[in-house]
């Protein structure tokens, strides 16, 4: 059931999410990636087994460095499992359709919409949620930057925005303006705190470089 992600392949876009999703459930044949390329992905070559729908399946998830063994229905999203089974409510629900970014987490350092990712698909990957960015009691660099730049109002989109920035910086430690914009393009903020979120991304890059 594991799915390997090529590092460097559309790092901060969400095309990967959907492709991964489709191939894992065995439906992917030709799906457009965010880069606009067509990728033929016969399900079999990805090693995806078709699981019985309503039966519970044991899985092991590695979340924020901890191993969780749990029973899931194959169709449960990672978002559902994080929030409703593991109580990790730092990851928010905004649309459950891959349209808002509130649920963004990292899988092997790449931002993913947890609502568009099956829990079974997340096996074998290192999953990081907002809770996993803390360094003990200390804020991680991106979190610190969001505080410094006042990068939110209601705070509901914030966990997703922070994870998107974290993923962006892991791939591009010194992002250009365009890269920041691309990295944040999958995350909506209805309060309209974008200007500050944008600045926070830049500040986070500095903090991570120890400046």
């Amino acid at each position: 059931m594991t799915q390997k992600h090529e590092p460097g392949e559309c790092r901060c876009s969400r095309g990967l999410t959907r492709r991964g999703f489709l191939s894992t459930v065995g439906a992917g044949v030709a799906v457009a990636s965010a880069a606009g390329k067509l990728a033929a992905q016969p399900a079999a070559s990805q090693g995806a087994d078709v699981l019985p729908s309503a039966e519970m399946t044991p899985i092991t998830l590695n979340i924020n460095g901890r191993t969780h063994r749990l029973l899931v229905e194959p169709r449960w999203s990672l978002l559902f499992v994080l929030r409703e089974r593991l109580g990790l409510t730092g990851t928010k629900v905004g649309c459950e359709r891959g349209e808002c970014g509130a649920c963004t987490v990292l899988m092997d350092d790449l931002p993913r919409y947890a609502c568009m990712t099956l829990a079974v698909e997340a096996q074998g990957s290192e999953i990081t949620t907002l809770e996993g960015l803390m360094r003990g009691e200390e804020l991680g660099g991106v979190q610190q930057a969001f505080v410094e730049e006042d990068a939110f109002q209601c705070g509901y989109c914030t966990p997703g925005q922070i994870m998107a920035v974290e993923g962006l910086l892991r791939a591009h430690p010194e992002p250009s303006q365009e890269e920041i914009q691309m990295g944040l393009s999958g995350n909506l903020c209805r309060c309209g705190a974008y200007v500050h979120i944008f600045k926070a991304a830049g500040r986070a890059a500095q903090l991570k470089r120890g400046q």
Partner: protein, 755 residues
């Protein structure tokens, strides 16, 4: 501790309604709604739903023990439809099960048969058929009829403004827990805790004291949770109360978009007359408001449209008529600006057209007619401490309007297929609930023996920073570190009869109430200090920066020691206070009065770029000079300003709500309904805080911010129009928002329809 739960948010520890830990055996509710816009419910068969595994119960209107009524001022809205349905998405039944998914599956399984009746979606048709929510209202001053003769130019036409979906990132949500006394506690994402309490009590047939409503915080509200959070809270309460189990009800985004109302679309007819110099002499406008199926807040919203019909301008002869039309769409509701933006947009359109007729630029008409002290609004209020002209002048100079215009002209001369436009947008927005009685709030302040402070108020924190402002107020009065002060959740058990947190009044009303309560405690502390020190009168005592001074001399007392000492001296360290905005009134028979505590003023310069081949527009810059009073919290105010502008631009250019011919929402996901993302925000937002802008009625001389910035977004529409005119001076551009790329192309290339 930082204001606005900063650290909680970045750690993901801020608990929103859907995040709260509930007892293990809690249940989930889902809703079955009508698929028909108007019809008779012939049958509703719940048996198939009950057959779904994991289902506990299905509730319909018959299961409501009290009154099936969620209406506020006009009682026309059942919680669950009875024999008739009035819009697609109207709730018919509540299904409760052991998982949200089972409940949803069962809700779909309910068999509903509805015999369709004719439905109305269009305001003109509603008006013609007499389908109104309330009798029309007219605000007038001077004598429009006789004024037309004095005008050199009279323009008239129609303006359409579109709806807008709130898209608060946190969808509507609530959970309810039965209490041992047979009451219910509801945790709700609402802007109106007391309204929820009242309605839940009414639905369950309980006295209000058996219903506690608590609000932790909102993931955005924007007006969408002022009246329309009530339903879901009441449904969760009904289910929890009937089943004696905790019940959670959280709408999915799709449910939220289809079941809840939005900003009111308006269709407006205007007529504007000016003299040869461009003075506006007479203005007649009729607003047809699409209220949707029930009253909700529509009459109040329409009233604000009438108040703001003349925006920031002095016009001697005015007749503004407001008609709230009942249609078969979901009930439209409050949204930042509350009818104000719709009204401002109409007048700006009229000015744009008048400018063409006079052969001048719209900004010349705008500037010539700006309000100043001594002018009067059509509803009789005198204009005082007006800063409209100052804002305009400072904006012109600071942002170098003339140079900007020259640049735009040069750019347009150089580029054939890309054009720029620049527009000015002055705004004036009245601050207060226009229903005078709502302008009251309470605060409850507790000082604990260790010197820490807990404050409860009527305000709901939804990202607007009201808690940060209240914390600032208390820190200033006590003269202690803000970290000592915690803002509690909002609860009806701590503060009774709260107004909604709306109309941008949150900081003022609750700030003043907090100030009064803190002052009470300070007085008592000074008494206690005087008694302890033995040689001073209370008025000689001063608490400054956590230390206690007597006649200006430092004493051994600190804040903590003083509090502790007062406690042992048996002094009360808690205080409750109430604030009611003074000197406001409005007579709804004559439509005259002074309904606002003060007005927010400002002017924006908005610059747009248009790709004339694709019809796409980007906003290059929004540069604002705004009157914040003496800002209480510049960081919060700046955020409100930027966020409001982004939303306003979204409403004008991007966000299009569409229904099909049967009243079904077509734009029912975030893939089909586009709100601004990081690519579509203005390239630059500059905000200048107007200097020397004391505001005595505001808390610590400040002005509230919340809604007014939204109005600057209207400037984006006219900046785009300027760019379109630069490309095609003869273009006939309809006044219809949002001005999407499709509409731009249709206006730029009339007749060039694709084959």
């Amino acid at each position: 501790m930082e204001p606005r739960d900063v650290f909680l948010h970045v750690r993901g520890e801020a608990v929103f309604v859907d995040d709260a830990l509930l007892p293990a055996e809690h249940l989930f509710a889902a809703i079955r709604t009508s698929h028909v816009a108007h019809g008779h419910v012939r049958s509703l068969d719940i048996a198939p739903a009950m057959a779904v595994p994991g289902i506990y119960e299905v509730f319909t209107a018959r299961d409501i023990p009290g009154e099936n009524q969620v209406g506020k001022t006009i009682l026309d809205e059942p919680l669950l439809a009875e024999s008739e349905v009035h819009f697609v998405g109207q709730p018919l039944a509540i299904v409760v099960g052991e998982s949200a998914e089972a409940a949803r599956r069962a809700a779909r399984a309910i068999q509903v048969e509805i015999d369709p009746l004719p439905a109305i979606y269009d305001v003109r048709q509603a008006f013609a058929e007499g389908s109104l929510i309330a009798p029309p209202r007219t605000f007038s001053s001077g004598d429009v009829e006789s004024a037309w003769e004095q005008c050199s130019v009279v323009v008239s036409g129609t303006v359409e403004s579109g709806s807008q979906e709130h898209v608060y990132m946190e969808t509507q949500s609530a959970f309810a827990l039965p209490t041992d006394r047979g009451g219910v506690k509801v945790v709700s994402a609402t802007q109106s805790p007391s309204m929820v309490q009242l309605v839940v009590a009414r639905i369950l047939g309980l006295p209000m004291h058996e219903v506690e409503v608590e609000v932790p915080r909102l993931g955005g509200g924007f007006g969408g949770k002022e009246d329309q959070a009530t339903h879901w809270a009441a449904m969760a309460a009904l289910a929890a109360w009937r089943l004696k189990k905790p019940v959670k009800l959280v709408l999915t985004r799709h449910e939220d978009m289809t079941m809840t109302g939005k900003r009111h679309p308006y269709l407006s007819d205007y007529k504007l007359g000016l003299d040869a110099e461009g003075h506006m002499l007479a203005y007649e406008v009729t607003f047809y408001q699409n209220g949707g199926a029930v009253a909700d807040l529509s009459p109040a919203i329409l009233e604000r449209s009438l108040f703001h019909a003349t925006n920031a301008y002095a016009i001697p002869h005015v007749k503004a008529v407001g008609i709230s039309c009942r249609t078969h769409l979901p009930p439209n509701t409050a949204f930042r600006g509350f009818g104000g933006p719709q009204a401002l947009f109409v007048l700006e359109c009229a000015i744009f057209k008048a400018a063409e007729a006079l052969g001048v630029e719209p900004r010349e008409i705008q500037k010539r007619n700006l309000l100043q002290d001594g002018d009067a609004f059509p509803y009789g209020a005198r204009v005082e401490r007006c800063r409209q002209r100052r804002c305009w002048d400072v904006a012109e100079q600071k942002y170098n309007l003339q140079a900007g215009l020259k640049e735009v002209r040069q750019y347009n001369g150089r580029n054939a297929w890309r054009k720029k436009g620049l527009a000015l947008m002055p705004i004036c927005f009245g601050i207060s609930f226009t229903s005078t009685f709502l302008n009251q709030a309470g605060a409850f302040v507790n000082v604990y023996v260790d010197g820490s402070v807990g404050i409860s108020t009527s305000a709901v924190e939804m990202g607007q920073g009201v808690n940060a402002k209240i914390q600032e107020v208390a820190a200033r009065i006590f003269s202690i570190r803000p970290e000592r002060i915690k803002l509690e959740t909002t609860s009806t058990s701590r503060i009774a009869n709260m107004p909604p947190t709306a109309a941008s009044t949150g900081a003022d009303l609750n700030g003043h109430a907090t100030r009064l309560a803190c002052l009470d405690i300070v007085e008592r502390l000074k008494d206690a200090a005087a008694r302890c020190l033995g040689k001073n009168a209370p008025h000689e005592i001063e608490i400054r920066d956590e230390a206690v001074y007597a006649s200006g001399e430092a004493t051994e007392l600190t804040w903590e020691k003083l509090v502790n000492l007062a406690y042992f001296d048996r002094v009360s360290l808690c205080a409750q206070a109430h604030c009611a905005t003074p000197d406001i009134f409005f007579d709804r028979d004559t439509n005259k009065g002074n309904p606002f505590a003060y007005y927010a003023y400002g002017t924006a310069l908005v610059e747009a770029s248009l790709d004339c081949l694709r019809g796409t527009c980007s906003i290059d810059a929004v540069r604002v000079v705004h009157d914040f009073g003496r800002s209480l919290h510049p960081l919060v105010d700046l955020g409100q300003m930027e966020g409001g502008i982004v939303q306003g631009v979204g409403w004008m250019l991007l966000e299009e709500v569409m229904h099909d011919a049967d009243g079904r929402l077509l734009t029912d996901t975030l893939a089909t309904y586009k709100i601004p993302d990081i690519h579509s925000i203005p390239g630059e937002i500059q905000v200048h805080f107007l200097e020397d802008a004391e505001n005595p009625p505001g808390i610590f001389q400040s002005k509230t911010v919340g809604e007014p910035p939204f109005l600057y977004g209207i400037g984006a529409y006219f900046a785009l129009l300027q760019a379109m005119k630069a490309f095609r001076p003869d273009a006939h551009i309809p006044f219809s928002s949002p001005m999407t790329p499709e509409k731009v192309l249709l206006a730029l290339y009339p007749g060039d329809r694709p084959v």
